[in-house]
């Protein structure tokens, strides 16, 4: 084993303590000894030993009692029980309490090596598990959603609140606003966080397939069903099911899901045996489902079932103050991914990014930054690097100055707002007096008629 461990040998016999102590020293482990359970607990309080070798028969506190205390107070500490031939039953008892292994003394040197090898493998697995768990938490972490604008702050404050309950949540927002990230954050903050998070895009799967994906099927119920398959509603067992584009599902599927949400049971296709299911539903839509309910397109009972709590995710154009933060985030992300150092954006380019309306929202912005980083030949992204972005009504040319750009933009907003100065000033986030001054400075005129 290559990983050095911190090991304590607990035995009332000095000769055993010394033998094991010197043996572990030969492997470069941090070794310590204790002559009683009490001494071991005192030393554990001061130093986090990873592994304890404990003799089962000791005066005062025996090995079993020490094992119980260690497993209660330091559950991550591994314990190997050392026992004589006569006390196998105690060794079995120790294994039940939580001992990692036991050794009958005297043992062959390679038996000890084998136990240490197993512990090394176990430690490696635990460390890999912790690493992956950390990675998963990083991916689904709440602070992975970028934004400090008031509408995003409102979303952030809602997430931990709603995560604690089991109520169904409906996320409403345009495409690319980060609905799935919010769903993952809700899952990560909930008591179900250690259980699966399964995301299904209902709009991307044909209805017949969606039914089989969600409910599962028995072997041979349709062509291609060569074996029985559990549906996601069962596989998610205890976790969170995220149904994206819920507005796309058919009325029949709405009834089926409504029944599942009410009865907490599913019956797979081709089966008659209902199976109990437990999951938290988070749905998302970019459609106005309330309107569709009123028009009779979407089932009202299903709508209210999935919409116990509604969270609206604002489109990027309504939180433009987050753009520089998002740009910074994506620059770091894609610089790492492409192994290139691209860490600056000129003020002209940033102006363009803030001016653009981003109909594809954060996803479109992310794609734009990725493309610009991939194609960039310098560490600074310039306005030319975003030539593929075409803000409505304004064509940017390489020679366009900031002054000309500002003039064109003000003119565009005034035209959009039918030359209503109050409304235009609001969009431009300047006061009316300033806008009047700019209209005068740039000699802008309202078109005739």
């Amino acid at each position: 084993m290559d990983k050095k461990m911190s090991i304590m040998v607990v035995d009332d016999e000095a000769i055993v303590r010394e033998s094991l102590f010197h043996w572990f020293k030969k492997y470069g482990h941090v070794a310590e000894t204790a002559s009683s359970g009490f001494e071991a607990l005192e030393k554990l309080e001061k130093y986090p030993f990873q592994l304890l070798f404990v003799d089962i028969k000791m005066p005062g506190m025996d090995g079993i009692e020490l094992l119980k205390k260690v497993k209660t107070e330091y559950p991550d500490t591994l314990v190997i029980i050392i026992t004589a031939y006569g006390s196998i039953e105690s060794a079995v008892k120790a294994m039940r309490i939580g001992a990692t292994d036991y050794l009958l003394k005297p043992f062959k040197p390679d038996q000890l090596s084998l136990v240490m090898e197993r512990i090394s493998v176990q430690e490696k697995l635990v460390s890999q598990y912790n690493y992956l768990k950390g990675r998963l938490e990083k991916i689904t972490r709440f602070d992975n959603i970028i934004g400090q604008s008031p509408p995003m702050e409102a979303v952030f404050s809602l997430i931990p609140e709603v995560a604690q309950s089991d109520s169904s949540i409906l996320l409403v927002g345009e495409t690319g606003t980060g609905k799935e990230l919010v769903a993952k954050a809700i899952h990560a903050e909930s008591r179900r966080s250690h259980l699966p998070f399964i995301a299904i895009n209902c709009g991307a799967i044909p209805e017949s397939l969606l039914e089989s994906e969600l409910f599962g099927h028995q072997k041979g119920v349709f062509t291609g069903a060569t074996r029985a398959r559990k549906g996601f509603l069962e596989v998610v067992s205890g976790g969170t099911l995220f149904l994206d584009e819920i507005g796309e599902i058919s009325p029949k599927m709405q009834i089926n899901l409504l029944r599942v949400l009410e009865e907490k049971k599913i019956t797979s296709i081709g089966s008659r045996e209902p199976v109990e299911v437990d999951f938290r539903l988070v749905s998302a839509t970019r459609r106005d489902l309330k309107k569709e309910v009123a028009e009779g397109i979407f089932r009202e009972d299903f709508f209210y079932r999935i919409n116990v709590i509604m969270i609206e995710i604002p489109p990027l154009r309504k939180r433009k103050e987050d753009i520089s933060l998002l740009v910074e985030h994506f620059l770091i992300k894609y610089s790492q991914e492409t192994n290139k150092t691209v860490d600056h954006v000129t003020s002209n380019a940033m102006g363009l990014l803030k001016q653009y309306n981003w109909p594809g929202n954060v996803r479109e912005l992310e794609n734009a930054i990725e493309r610009a980083v991939v194609l960039s030949k310098s560490r600074t992204l310039r306005i030319e690097d975003f030539s593929f972005i075409q803000p409505s009504g304004i064509q940017f040319q390489e020679s366009l100055s900031l002054r000309e750009m500002e003039k064109a933009y003000i003119q565009k907003i005034l035209e959009e707002k039918n030359w209503n100065v109050t409304q235009s000033a609001k969009v431009l986030e300047i006061n009316r007096v300033t806008l009047h001054k700019m209209i005068k400075r740039y000699c802008l005129e309202r078109p005739e008629g």
């Binding site: 010197h22 030969k26 470069g28 040197p109 000890l112």
Partner: protein, 181 residues
């Protein structure tokens, strides 16, 4: 700055064949480049016999040897043909403590293969040399090594001793050079 070259004594405990002692001494000189000398024998370590196990306690022998003086030798390897043990283990082929002065090699179990057959003398001597070098490695503060063929790899059986080479791996070699500097 110069340092005195370390000197190693090889000492028989009881009646040990001269060839076995020479094999050990010459391998120490050849592999570790240390001055080696075969010392006059000590008595069989009857003081260390465990009446219950009928084996010799390696720890007691080492403690006794460490209390003795062996001239100008920095490290001493004792060689005996008795079955050695340390209290937690059924047996050991040899024993030494990290950074100590005295180590032991027992020829007792090295003279038998795991299937009970007897190997030729040359194999027994090679095994003894490997165990002696391994224990000397511990006396020079080398740790057990991961590389299966390295001299400092732990060997639980005679097959593993046979698989082990007479050389240190790259890392243990560098470590040894540092220790001997």
């Amino acid at each position: 700055m110069t340092s005195k070259k370390k000197s190693v004594g090889v000492i028989p405990l009881g009646n040990i064949s001269e060839i076995a002692l020479q094999a050990i001494a010459e391998h120490i000189t050849g592999c570790f480049k240390l001055t080696t000398q075969i010392l006059p024998p000590l008595e069989k370590p009857e003081y260390a016999i465990d009446e219950r196990r009928l084996q010799y306690n390696a720890g007691i022998i080492i403690e006794t040897m460490e209390a003795m003086h062996f001239g100008n030798h920095d490290k001493v390897i004792g060689v005996l043909n008795k079955d050695l043990f340390i209290p937690i283990f059924t047996h050991v082929f040899g024993e030494a403590r990290q950074g100590g002065t005295c180590g032991l090699v027992s020829l007792f179990r090295l003279a038998k293969n795991s299937d009970g057959s007897s190997p030729p003398k040359s194999i027994i001597h090679e095994r003894a040399a490997k165990v002696a070098l391994h224990e000397l490695g511990h006396l020079l503060d080398l740790l057990h090594c991961e590389h299966k063929r390295c001299l400092m790899h732990f060997s639980g059986g005679t097959e593993e001793v046979d698989e082990m080479s007479l050389d240190l791996c790259e890392y243990c070699s560098i470590y040894l050079q540092d220790k001997l500097r």
